[in-house]
C-alpha cells in the first residue's frame, strides 16, 4: 500500500462510501441497471461496498423491449453469475399499445417506456431510494445535480430545492412518499470509467467493441439492424460495416461509430483521441434544447 492513494482509488472509496450511506439510511433501496458501462462499474462498486455480503438490494432494469439482443444476454448472464436479484419492468401500457420509436417518435417512446416505466416500477415495489450511474461530466443538467437527489412523491426533481452537500456528510432524510436518486459515480469522468473497467477487468457488453455489424445510414447516424422490427426505407440496404457503440440504449436510437477498435485499450485510445463528446450519438438528447433537464424534472433518470 503506497501512502498516496491514486485518483481512482479515491473515487472508488468515495463511491463505496456513498452506497453504504444510502443503504444504511433507506428502507427499500434498488439499483437501476441499464446494462451500459457505467452500470457495470456501479454494480462492481456495489459488490465491493458490501463484500463479503451480496449488495443488499435488487437490480432494476426498466426495459423498453428495444434494447440490443446482446444487452439482454449480457444482463441475464451478469445477474445469474453474481447471484443478484434482477427485476425487469416493462410498462404494460407500452406493451399493449406497442409503443415504438418509429410510429410514436423517440420522445414519446422514451417518455412512455423509460420515464413512466421507471415511476411505475419504483411505485410498484415501493422503492424509496434508487442508485443511478449518471456522471457530472456527462451532460449539463447532470452537472448541476447533487449526489443525493431528492424527488417528490410524484418523482419530480426540483433543482431549486437541492440540498447543499458538505464534506462526505449526506442528508438522506425524506418525508413520507419522497424518494432519493443517488449517483455514486458523480465525480467520475468518462476516462475514469474506462480506466477502471480496464484495471478491474469488469465485463461489459461486446457492442462497445468494434466488429462487423449490419447497419443502415439514417439522418447521419449509423443504426444497427438488430432484428427484423427495424423498418427499412426505400433504397436502404443494410451494410456490414465495422462499428461500435460509445453509449448503449434502444437500438433504433443509438448511433454507432465506425471503428475497428476491438480491445479495451484500443477503445480507450479512440475515446481519448476523439474530438466529439460521448452523448453525441444519442438521438434522445437532441430532441429539443434543455431536453434532458426537462425529462429529469419529470422523473427520468
Amino acid at each position: 500500500m503506497t501512502d498516496t492513494l491514486t485518483h481512482l482509488q479515491r473515487l472508488e472509496a468515495e463511491s463505496i462510501h456513498i452506497m453504504r450511506e444510502a443503504v444504511a439510511e433507506s428502507e427499500r433501496p434498488v439499483m437501476l441497471y441499464s446494462i451500459g458501462k457505467d452500470s457495470s462499474v456501479m454494480l462492481h462498486l456495489a459488490r465491493k461496498a458490501f463484500f463479503p455480503a451480496l449488495p443488499p438490494f435488487p437490480l432494476l432494469h426498466v426495459d423498453t423491449t428495444w434494447k440490443f439482443k446482446q444487452m439482454y444476454e449480457f444482463r441475464d448472464k451478469t445477474a445469474a453469475e453474481l447471484g443478484i436479484d434482477l427485476l425487469v419492468h416493462q410498462n404494460p401500457e407500452c406493451v399493449e399499445l406497442g409503443i415504438n420509436p418509429f410510429t410514436h417518435g423517440s420522445a414519446t417512446h422514451t417518455d412512455m417506456w423509460k420515464t413512466q416505466g421507471l415511476k411505475q416500477a419504483l411505485d410498484m415495489h415501493r422503492f424509496d431510494l434508487a442508485f443511478g450511474g449518471a456522471r457530472r461530466d456527462e451532460e449539463k443538467s447532470r452537472a448541476k445535480e447533487r449526489v443525493f437527489s431528492l424527488r417528490s412523491a410524484q418523482h419530480r426533481w426540483d433543482p431549486k430545492q437541492q440540498r447543499p452537500e458538505l464534506w462526505r456528510t449526506y442528508n438522506v432524510r425524506r418525508n413520507p412518499g419522497e424518494t432519493m436518486r443517488v449517483f455514486p459515480l458523480s465525480n467520475w469522468t468518462e476516462l475514469d470509467v474506462w480506466q477502471y473497467i480496464h484495471l478491474e477487468e469488469i465485463p461489459i457488453v461486446p457492442l462497445y467493441f468494434g466488429a462487423p455489424r449490419p447497419v443502415v445510414e439514417r439522418d447521419g447516424a449509423l443504426i444497427m439492424v438488430d432484428d427484423d422490427r427495424l423498418p427499412l426505407f426505400d433504397g436502404e440496404e443494410p451494410q456490414l460495416r465495422s462499428v461500435r457503440f460509445r453509449t448503449l440504449g434502444c437500438y433504433p436510437l443509438s448511433g454507432a461509430v465506425e471503428s475497428t477498435a476491438d480491445t479495451l485499450t484500443a477503445v480507450i485510445q479512440e475515446m481519448l483521441l476523439t474530438t466529439t463528446s460521448e452523448r453525441q450519438g444519442r438521438v434522445i438528447d437532441h430532441d429539443s434544447a434543455g431536453s434532458m433537464e426537462k425529462k429529469k424534472q419529470e422523473g427520468y433518470f
Binding site: 501512502d3 479515491r10 448541476k144 447543499p164 462526505r168 456528510t169 480506466q195 484495471l199 485510445q269
Partner: protein, 632 residues
C-alpha cells in the same frame, strides 16, 4: 500534436499506466468574475486539452468579436457552460474536472458574491487547496479578505494567491511585491501561513504552465506546477486512527464486519481499537476488501474491519486508536454557517449529522456573529441565511468527535430541519463544553412511576394549541375542574400567566416564542415527573416547538388538543381586544395577523369551536383521557 496525445496514439498502455497512478487534488477557486476566474478556469481546461475541437473553433470565432482584441478569450469557455444559470436555477457550486500528466483535478467553482457564503463553504468543505485570485490593479479587497476568512474557517491549509492581470500593470514587480506583503500581513491575522503568491496573467498565460519571461524576477512555481505537486491527503493521514462505522456487515453467522471510510490515520491487523462513545476495546483481526485482505488501510479508504471480540458496535459509533481515542460529549461550542432562508431559531430542536450519527440538537443564542467583510464579532440573537456565528450546541446524547481543526470528518456536521428535512446549516466543532462533563443527571429514587402510583392516575401533558381567542383557556379551565372532581392531580399553565413570571423576559419575536415554549415544555416535564396531569394553554404557533415539547416527555404522555377556530371567528370574538390592536399596527408579531400559525397535522384531539360548546369539548377531552388510560 501534444505530448500526451502522442503517447495516447503510440503507446496507450503507457499512457494508461501513467493515468492510473495519478493522484487527485480537489481545490476551490475564489474571486469574483472580474478578477479573471472564468478566464483562469477556461485556461486550465484548455491547457489540459479538455476542449474539443468544435468548441475551440467556436471559441476562436467568438473571440474575434469579444473583448480581448481577437486573442482567445478563455472566459467564454466557462461562461458558455455557465449560461445554464440563465435558466433561473441557482447552482450553488459547480464541479469541473480536468487532468494533467501528473494529477487529476476536481475544481469547486463557486460564485464570488457575498450572498453565496454558503456556496463557498460547500465548495471549500471538500477542497484541500484554494486559489484566491486578486486583480493586480485592485489589490487586496474586502472580497479577498472574506474568501480568505472562509477558506481559513474551513481549514484549507494550502493557499495560492494568484495575482492576476499583471499584464495590465506592466508586469510590475513593485505592484506584485506590495500586494504579496499586504496579503501575507492580513493572512497571518487569520492563521493562514502556507501561502504561495504567483504573479500571472490568466489571459496571456503568464506563469500558468510555463515560467513567464515577463516576470524574470519571479522564481516560484507556476500555477499548474504548484497544483500538480502540492501534497494531498496529508491532513487526516498524520492523525490517530478514526473510522466512523457506516454499516455493520453480517452476511451470515460466521462474519461480522464493520464498514466505513478511514477518516484519520491508518489501521493494520493487530491494532488495538476503542469504540467511542461506549469505550469498549478490541483488536483488529482483518482489513477486508473484495480484492484481498489488506496489510494496512490509510485515510480515505473504504474498508471493512473484523474484530477479535464480540463487542457491541453499531452504525454511528467510531472505531478509534485505543491509545488516542476521539472525545465523547453532548455539549459543544461550534462555528455555524446558516444555509436556509428561514433564520436559525435558538432553542428549536434540529438534527445534527456528524459522520454516520444523526442526533437531535438545539443551538444556543449565538455568542456572536462574524461579519465576513470586516471579520468583526457582532452581537446576534439568531443567524440568517449566509451568516456565520459561534453557538453552543446541546445534543440529547453523547457522540464521538474531534475538533474540526484536527479532523474535518470528525468535527464537521450538517444541521437538518426536523419537519422539512432540509439541510439548513453546517458547522465545525471547536471543543466540548466542560459543563457537559461536570453536570451529571442525578438519579432520583422516587421516580415518575412511584409518583403515579400514589396519585392513582398516569401523568401526562394535555397541550392546548390554537389562535388567540380560540377558546383554549376556557376549555382548559373546564377540563381541569372536571379532572379535579374526579380526584386527579392537575396543574394549569396558561400563556399569559407564565409570561408574568418565568417568561417575563421574553418578547414576541420568533426566537423568543421558541424559547417561551421550550421553558414551558421543561416545566411540564418536571411536573409530569412529579405525577401531575399538566394542562398547557398556549398559542404555540409553530409545529417544531410543539414537537419539541412532545419529545420532552415519554411516548404517550403528550396529548395535543387543537382548539380549531377560524381566524375570522377568533377575530370577531376578540375577547382581549388584541386583534383590533394588531390590525391598527399597535401589536407586532401577532399570530394570525403578521405572524403565522401552523395548525397541527395529527393532533390527538381536535375541537371545532364553531360547532362544539366549551362544556361538550371538556367532556370529550376527559373521555379521551380515560380512553388513553390516563384516568383509571
Amino acid at each position: 500534436m501534444t505530448v500526451p496525445s502522442r503517447l495516447i496514439a503510440e503507446d496507450i498502455e503507457s499512457y494508461l499506466n501513467v493515468h492510473q497512478h495519478k493522484s487527485l487534488l480537489r481545490f476551490i477557486t475564489c474571486g469574483s468574475v472580474d478578477d479573471g476566474k472564468s478566464t483562469l478556469i477556461g485556461r486550465l481546461l484548455y491547457e489540459s486539452h479538455l476542449v474539443f475541437e468544435d468548441h475551440l473553433e467556436a471559441l476562436e470565432a467568438d473571440s474575434k468579436t469579444g473583448t480581448q482584441g481577437g486573442e482567445l478569450d478563455f472566459a467564454l469557455l466557462v461562461d458558455g457552460l455557465a449560461a445554464e444559470r440563465e435558466q433561473g436555477i441557482t447552482i450553488d457550486v459547480a464541479y469541473r474536472f480536468f487532468s494533467t500528466e501528473k494529477r487529476k483535478f476536481i475544481v469547486a467553482d463557486t460564485p464570488g458574491h457575498e450572498q453565496y457564503t454558503r456556496n463557498m463553504v460547500t465548495g471549500a468543505s471538500t477542497a484541500e487547496a484554494a486559489v484566491i485570485l486578486i486583480d493586480a490593479r485592485k489589490g487586496v479587497l474586502t472580497q479577498t479578505r472574506r474568501h480568505s476568512y472562509l477558506v481559513s474557517l474551513l481549514g484549507i491549509g494550502k493557499i495560492v494567491v494568484a495575482v492576476n492581470k499583471l499584464d495590465l500593470v506592466g508586469y510590475s514587480r513593485d505592484v506584485f511585491d506590495t500586494i504579496e506583503a499586504e496579503y501575507r500581513d492580513f493572512a497571518a491575522q487569520i492563521g493562514l501561513t502556507d501561502i504561495v503568491c504567483i504573479p500571472m496573467s490568466a489571459l496571456r498565460g503568464d506563469n500558468i504552465t510555463e515560467p513567464s519571461q515577463n516576470t524574470p524576477w519571479y522564481h516560484g512555481p507556476t500555477l499548474l506546477g504548484y497544483l500538480e505537486t502540492v501534497p494531498v491527503g496529508q491532513h487526516a493521514k498524520d492523525g490517530p486512527f478514526r473510522m466512523p462505522v457506516q454499516w455493520v456487515n453480517r452476511p451470515g453467522h460466521d462474519f461480522r464486519g464493520f464498514s466505513g471510510v478511514v477518516v484519520g490515520g491508518r489501521v493494520r491487523p493487530g491494532d488495538r481499537v476503542r469504540v467511542v462513545p461506549s469505550g469498549q476495546q478490541s483488536t483488529v483481526v482483518r482489513v477486508v476488501t473484495m480484492d484481498d485482505d489488506l496489510d494496512e488501510a490509510v485515510a480515505e479508504q473504504s474498508v471493512t474491519l473484523t474484530l477479535a471480540d464480540e463487542i457491541d458496535v453499531s452504525r454511528g459509533d467510531v472505531l478509534c486508536a485505543a491509545d488516542s481515542p476521539a472525545g465523547s460529549a453532548d455539549q459543544f461550542e461550534a462555528h455555524v454557517v446558516w444555509m436556509a432562508e428561514n433564520e436559525m431559531m435558538p432553542g428549536r430542536p434540529y438534527l445534527l449529522k456528524l459522520g454516520a450519527r444523526t442526533v437531535p440538537v438545539s443551538l444556543s443564542r449565538p455568542k456572536y456573529r462574524v461579519d465576513v467583510n470586516t471579520l468583526e464579532h457582532a452581537a446576534a440573537t439568531t443567524l440568517a441565511l449566509n451568516e456565520i456565528g459561534v453557538c453552543n450546541l446541546n445534543l440529547d446524547r453523547p457522540i464521538a468527535f474531534d475538533p474540526y481543526a484536527e479532523n474535518r470528518d470528525m468535527g464537521g456536521f450538517v444541521l437538518i430541519d426536523r419537519l422539512t428535512n432540509a439541510t439548513v446549516g453546517a458547522g465545525m466543532l471547536h471543543f466540548a463544553l466542560r459543563r457537559s462533563q461536570n453536570v451529571h443527571w442525578q438519579a432520583i429514587d422516587v421516580d415518575k412511576a412511584a409518583q403515579a402510583e400514589l396519585k392513582g392516575h398516569r401523568p401526562c401533558v394535555v397541550w392546548f394549541t390554537g389562535l388567540s381567542g380560540a377558546g383554549k383557556s376556557s376549555i382548559a379551565n373546564l377540563v381541569e375542574k372536571r379532572l379535579h372532581a374526579l380526584g386527579a392531580h392537575t396543574t394549569l399553565l396558561d400563556g399569559d400567566n407564565v409570561r408574568h413570571g418565568l417568561n417575563k423576559d421574553l418578547g414576541f419575536t420568533e426566537a423568543d416564542r421558541v424559547e417561551n415554549i421550550r421553558r414551558v415544555g421543561e416545566v411540564s416535564r418536571l411536573m409530569v415527573n412529579a405525577g401531575l396531569v399538566v394542562l398547557v394553554s398556549f398559542i404555540s404557533p409553530f409545529r417544531s416547538e410543539r414537537r419539541m415539547a412532545r419529545d420532552m416527555v415519554d411516548e404517550g404522555e403528550f396529548v395535543e388538543v387543537f382548539v380549531d377556530t377560524p381566524l375570522d371567528v377568533a377575530e370577531q370574538r376578540d375577547v382581549k381586544g388584541l386583534y383590533r390592536k394588531a390590525r391598527r399596527g399597535e401589536l407586532t408579531n401577532f399570530t394570525g395577523i403578521d405572524s403565522p400559525y401552523e395548525a397541527p397535522e395529527n393532533p390527538e384531539i381536535r375541537i371545532d369551536t364553531t360547532v362544539t360548546v366549551p362544556e361538550a369539548a371538556a367532556e370529550e377531552i376527559v373521555n379521551r383521557l380515560r380512553d388513553l388510560g390516563v384516568l383509571r
